[in-house]
Subunit: 223 residues, 4 copies
């Protein structure tokens, strides 16, 4: 039986993904040792990420080659904007972060770079590259959520809630759908296109890692 293309990509990016699992930010959510200030930084930056993520999902809908993919991405863009962002605002409130504080937040270097990469791929890359660039976010959070869920539950209910969200069945279904999309596109692609998909998957995987790192270091622009 042939290997799924998504599994091949996961292997190529294996060291990056393991570095994510071992990152003190991710581990710190699991064992509850993560300082609240670092996590709040993540919550604020993730809000900015979500807005551009919704833009990228909308562009994926616009550029999808068939109706089922158009539909799924349009629904994802809508639910990100109407459901996810409300949940995010409510979750932020549990940390004392007001909607105004979220609106005032400026992109950190890593958030700027990652969102520019995704938007740039959505605007100028192929749909294949775009799907591959989106996978590390959907799949990575799912895998991290599930690994953390299999360990002891953190004492802070807010960290526990975070783990619940990303280890949920709905999130797993979403990741599986995106894997299936990448599998199908990879199967039908030329070797050259698969190479570009691999490159996009790797760049996004690196940014997923760097997003934890930026939150952990509470990264700011040096100038």
């Amino acid at each position: 039986m042939e290997e799924r293309f998504s599994e091949y990509l996961r292997k190529v990016a294996s060291s990056i993904w393991e570095a994510q699992h071992n990152h003190p930010f991710v581990r710190g959510i699991g064992d509850g040792t993560l300082e609240l200030e670092r996590f709040k930084y993540w919550v604020r930056q993730d809000y900015l990420f979500l807005i551009d993520y919704a833009r990228v999902l909308a562009m994926a809908s616009a550029r999808a080659p068939d109706l089922p993919a158009m539909r799924r991405f349009a629904e994802l863009a809508r639910s990100t904007l109407e459901v996810e962002m409300d949940l995010h605002r409510a979750y932020a409130a549990e940390f004392g972060i007001s909607p105004e504080e979220l609106e005032r937040e400026q992109k950190s270097p890593t958030t700027q770079a990652y969102t520019d990469f995704l938007k740039c791929t959505a605007a100028l890359g192929s749909f294949e590259e775009l799907a591959a660039a989106l996978l590390p976010c959907m799949w990575g959070f799912c895998e991290i959520g599930q690994r953390l869920a299999s360990g002891p539950r953190p004492r802070d209910p807010r960290y526990a809630k975070w783990i619940d969200m990303y280890s949920s069945k709905e999130f797993a279904e979403l990741a599986e759908w995106c894997k299936g999309l990448v599998d199908q596109l990879g199967r039908e692609a030329t070797a050259q296109e698969r190479q570009r998909m691999e490159e996009a998957f790797l760049v996004s995987s690196r940014y997923e890692y760097l997003f934890w790192e930026a939150a952990y270091r509470m990264e700011t622009w040096p100038v």
Copy 2:
């Protein structure tokens, strides 16, 4: 009190819009004299239009400058793909047009030109131009639906249903929202940008007229 920019645009395009109201295709729906073959042509071409229309709405969501507009356009893209198109397929079935026939349909010259104009504006124009380019479709169908609804009811229940759809409260609300968006964008725009919005509004208005004309003539490519 200042004139709404949308009303100004409506005035500039007045002769085009009146030509729509007086077009034998539109009148023929109202008085029931429109030959079924011509209407079926419209149903098939409108299906192709809807697919690209959904793409354009998704791009509008991606390019909108604020969250409320992003949200509304994402919801419109989703509902076009998940609700409108299902309704359209069901409506087509009432005319004996199968889903397969819809999928096989090729764009007529006017459908090609109008959808290319909208997609081109969505990809390369400003958000202001895009909003202005989308308005003649949303508002025009609403106005036509309401004018026809104020006349005698056509005997064919399928034509009556068509009038009901576009004269509905929901459709009026959508048109009003889009007018409000264009008003706001026009108010904040430079004179140059307003000029480009006017141009986009006029081009789309012409294509709205030509779309009726193409269906009435059952237009095909000459070569």
Copy 3:
């Protein structure tokens, strides 16, 4: 020996291309019977076409996958803007068309539709589709120029000059380069991508025909 993909496309579009060769506008240039008013219409509309054509060439440079193609398209965009358009203005002057008249000209329906198609393909299609969409213009003018050059020379020196331009060695080299690019892209593409290239080639071929037709009928917007 395998057939060149460009030659395959030419065959598929054969009836459209023959219709071009037989069009009274094209024939009228060759035998000198074309009314000046019709030709002047073409000169004015072609000026508007050239501006958007330069935009499309620039976008092709931006989206090309390798340096040689980037370079060639950038050079084509530059020479269109710096050389072609000056030549065009000078040529227009021979017909008494002033630069101001060129600037005032509005796009006819066919010019609007063709340029929107090209820009839309440049912005949202693949590079393969874009190359295929550009080929009918480069190759078609070359073929028409050469066929007309092989016949008797028209008495009006301005028509003769037109034939000289498009039957020139430089123009033939350009067409051959674009054919080679499409051959290469077609060779490396999936069947699905080749299908999309064929569709783009056909649409542009139809617009090439319609561009003659529009000039012959001195087409205007009906509303």
Copy 4:
């Protein structure tokens, strides 16, 4: 007399630009203390930057609102691809960097982030934002070249050559042209648009600084 918008932007970004002038990489070119390995890193990464820079210039040509700007950007894209890159390859050879080594080079995080920002702005931003995003590169190199040229000449003729290039009259003319473009666009823009231009100018200014910093640290991806 009103302040030029470009000068206003320069003031807002003043601390970032001064940090560039004071950066050990920039100073090290001037006083000749910069280690060759760091400079060679810059030469290799700048090659990758130039390729995407040419794409962005081509997109600027495609999106420019008038013929003079279309022309200038098309000429810049062409000369970047045909002249600059050849010069760059020849210059790299003086450091023993072969064309193959240039082709093998992978983007560092900062090169990836800066080029994605520029391409993203070119594809999805307004032309105003794009012009503002391009200015810090053209103007910054000019200012740095001129400041270094006013100091003692570095002993290494290759560093001296670098200073000659960026302090040249041609480069100053280019920077002045881009400033004039931004002045004009800023003058005609709404306050909102000027705000977006300022933001784009600041982000590019930060990336200009970070590009020196990346070369100085010989930055690599952490995973």
